[in-house]
């Protein structure tokens, strides 16, 4: 059973996200915040560029996003595969958008990833289980 144990006294839940490069020959692991309030998974633009997804490409769709500080637009692309908490999603929609360095993360793990699974968070114990919802 895929399970992550985290420190429940911390301000946010951070997990590792493994992203496959556009050409399928390499991968990159980044820290992301688990965010059930985010519709999409977000990854920093530098990271997406390194993986060969070309976030500056003007032909990419730009997604309107509502943030805590207003409306923004960010390029949206599809990552070959993304793996977190022991579960993998093929062809995951990702927004290319930077979060402040003070956040301690390079992105958000949002509902575009989490909706494929049954997610259980035991907040008092700091345990996350992510399973295929059969």
């Amino acid at each position: 059973m895929p399970r992550v144990v985290y420190d429940p006294s911390l301000s946010s839940i951070v997990v590792d996200l493994l992203l496959e490069a556009a050409d399928g020959t390499s991968s990159l692991v980044i820290p992301v915040v688990l965010d059930t309030g985010a519709s999409l998974t977000i990854v920093a633009t530098d990271i997406m560029a390194q993986l060969g997804y070309d976030p500056a490409n003007p032909s990419l769709d730009r997604q309107r996003i509502v943030t805590g500080s207003g409306i923004e637009y960010a390029p949206r692309t599809t990552v070959r595969s993304a793996t977190a908490i022991g579960q993998k999603v093929i062809n995951l929609d990702v927004l290319c958008h930077d979060l402040p360095p003070e956040s301690g993360v390079d992105g958000l793990l949002g509902l575009s990833f989490l909706k494929h699974f049954k997610l259980t968070i035991r907040f008092r114990k700091g345990i996350i289980d992510l399973n295929r919802d059969r």
Partner: protein
């Protein structure tokens, strides 16, 4: 140049507190959490690690050993 040693996640946190790191030869556990890796670069500044990322290829891992101050809330 000598290879940096393969360090556990705990050792990395002890040796490089409150820092951003770029790792290679990393190992993940069954829950996709970092277990160990070799440090290629480390910095208090995330942008330095993003710059270092551009100089390397292959399977890499970015890791942050710090945490937000307890009196800081997070909303995105």
């Amino acid at each position: 140049m000598a290879k940096s040693p393969l360090l556990s996640r705990e050792k990395i946190k002890t040796k490089y507190p409150d820092q951003w790191l770029l790792l290679k030869d990393y190992e993940l556990d069954a829950s996709t959490s970092l277990r160990k890796g070799r440090v290629l670069a480390h910095s208090k500044d995330r942008s330095e690690i993003h710059r270092a990322l551009k100089k390397h290829t292959g399977n890499l891992c970015i890791h942050f050993t710090g945490s937000l101050p307890p009196d800081t809330g997070v909303i995105f």
